[in-house]
């Protein structure tokens, strides 16, 4: 293989890994911009991956083709993601539970309940049945460009969707009334309240969007990488997505860049063995890289001014 092909493939794999992170970190942004910490992203991804595996399977078993079945799995993930995120929302917004703990609860519930249901539905098996999922969708013409064609234009439909959503999210957050209100609620809830914005309602919406997007992020892993859902389908991507969100300073474009970077760090693992000089690096060092870099970035960023000011604080109107 020539170097150009390798780089092309590396970038392609990067985007495959990055896709789930992009969706999920965008989800994290919507929740946190509204002032609700969401450590439950990992659990929401689990639920999404689960829904995609289960519903994708039934849709395929009903005779739908790969794309249609996968899309049904994706939609199911969105619905389940929203429902589960409501647990977080009810606890942390309505009942003012600690948001960090409430997020951890989601992760706890995800690990137990998805596997419980898989065992119920698949006769005690530990994973869902293999489905074909999405296939790559080369873009005619563009996919023939050397290097870039391989890298960018021969991806899964979910990857294109993720990239489009980055720009949609940016537009929604920074150009529309909804975005302005959502951000105001995360920065200064009582200011929003006094101009008639329903603070808690906005936060519910933020958390629900994050549930939908994180679940889609989880679903893409089932639908493009593994083809089935098992206990290890999601193993830490939710936390990396949190890192990507912080790395990207709660900005969709920044989070996209960070997600691609972390995707690259994951993809590189598979290519380390290809060159003599890289073989001497223990793979653990490469695995650690995204986390180490996140810490370094946090240390370097003096004052965490980019985090929403009211993040993590339940809104109590009597204290306005």
């Amino acid at each position: 293989m020539d170097v150009l092909t390798i780089i092309g493939q590396l970038l392609n794999t990067t985007l495959v890994f990055a896709t789930a992170l992009i969706f999920t970190s965008l989800g994290g942004i919507f929740s946190e911009k509204s002032g609700v910490t969401n450590l439950g992203l990992e659990g929401l991804m689990v639920f999404g991956a689960f829904a995609a595996g289960v519903f994708g399977h039934y849709a395929q078993a009903a005779g739908l083709d790969g794309f249609a079945a996968a899309s049904i799995g994706l939609c199911a993930a969105i619905v389940l993601g929203i429902i589960v995120s409501l647990i977080h929302a009810v606890a942390s917004i309505t009942f003012k539970a600690d948001q960090v703990i409430s997020g951890i609860v989601i992760n706890f519930l995800a690990a137990g309940s998805t596997l419980y249901m898989v065992k119920l539905l698949f006769d005690g098996a530990g994973e869902t049945e293999l489905i074909s999922g999405y296939s790559r969708m080369p873009i005619p013409g563009l996919s023939k460009i050397p290097l870039l064609g391989d890298a960018l234009f021969n991806a899964y439909p979910t990857t294109y969707l993720a990239i489009i959503l980055v720009f949609v999210s940016y537009f929604v957050l920074y150009k529309t009334p909804f975005g302005l209100r959502l951000r105001s609620v995360g920065e200064h809830p009582s200011a929003a309240d006094t101009v008639g914005i329903k603070v808690n309602r906005m936060r519910y919406v933020g958390v629900m969007i994050s549930g939908a997007l994180a679940a889609v992020g989880g679903a893409t892993i089932t639908l493009t990488t593994t083809g089935t859902f098992a206990h290890n389908t999601i193993s830490g991507q939710g936390y990396i997505a949190i890192a990507a969100m912080i790395f990207g300073k709660w900005n969709p474009i920044g989070a996209f860049g960070a997600a691609v970077f972390f995707g690259l760090a994951q993809a590189v693992r598979n290519y380390v063995q290809l060159f003599a000089w890289t073989q001497s690096i223990p793979p653990e060092i490469i695995y650690m890289l995204p986390y180490l870099l996140t810490i370094i970035v946090l240390v370097a960023a003096v004052g965490r001014s980019s985090a929403p000011s009211a993040l993590g604080q339940p809104y109590d109107p009597s204290k306005r």
Binding site: L39, I87, V90, A91, S92, T94, F95, K96, A97, D98, V100, I101, S102, I104, V105, N107, F108, L109, A111, G112, S113, L115, Y116, K119, L120, G124, N232, S235, G236, Y239, I242, A243, I246, P282, E284, I285, Y287, M288, Y291, L292, T294, I295, L298, V299, V302, G303, R304
Partner: protein
Amino acid sequence: MNKVLKLFTKDSITLPVIAIILGLLLGAIVMMVGGYNPIEAYSALIERVYGNSYDFGEAIREMTPLIMTGLAFAFAARAGLFNIGGEGQFMIGMTAASIVGIHLHGLPAFIHAPLAIIAGAVFGGLWAALAGFLKATRGVNEVISCIMLNWIGLYLSNLIINTFALQSGDTRSVDIQPSASIAISWLSEMMGNARVHWGTLIALLAAVFFYIFMWKTKQGFELRSVGFNQDASKYAGMNVNRNIVKAMFISGAFAGLGGAFTVLGVFGYQSVMASSPGTGFDGIAVALIGMNNPFGVVLGAILFGTLTYGSAGMSFSADVPPEIVRIVIGAIIFFIAAQGIVRWLLKPFYAKRKKEKVS
């Protein structure tokens, strides 16, 4: 003793009890929906844990590290810190104990074993203190840095075992020296070779230490003050940054001890881990069930250990997927975290009681 009892003020005892009942009820409903018999399942669970001495010993083995990671979370929480890095500190504690247990030769057991335990505590503590240091000096949120340190801890542990202690051809370390073992062989023999070890006793002592340190000493006063109000503590002349690092160190040392016990008392070696063991995260649930009180943590660990260890019996005799207990635990901490929901659910009862009082 009176004062110890006073610690369990009314709310802090009724709330977790109600949450536990609600969690078990929810689990029962989920089982019924899945077509299982919850009564059969729960009795199989209890039967498994308390049915014979081997399983009882193994259940205690399960509870011990949970006490430690639970104490870790609770201790930091009392100082106003969210140490969700118990996971990483646990693994680093394992690794430090392994290396000391494997690579020091010719020491008598009464020196080698304590040394390995201390190594686990110190390195677990340092791993947590790192997050404390970053918070104190650079204002890095400890929740985020702990998440990152958990992953780094996993890969670092694997790297160290792979590089310095690998059993050739296997994915685990070589065995520790017998002199580093903390297994209680005579008790173990009595309990059908259940892996009981001295770590359990140390864990109980750690809970007592926690209580005395936090509520009886000058340093505990500072930690609690810093936990409640950093500005007032600064005003009162306390060194807030040093207290943050100190609290994280002690917290991490608890978790590191849990890791050390697992290597030195249970397995006698350390595996190269595909994913982190989860004991640190489970400790968060334990601490929440115990309302961040050291003795509550012990009770929480007993409950948690009973549920997880017993779940195997449940799936064996009642054919219920053992994951059901994760749902139960998730529900319990959900109800404890969102206390408002419990109060809201109980409102009719409270109202009734008040009426009765009036009449």
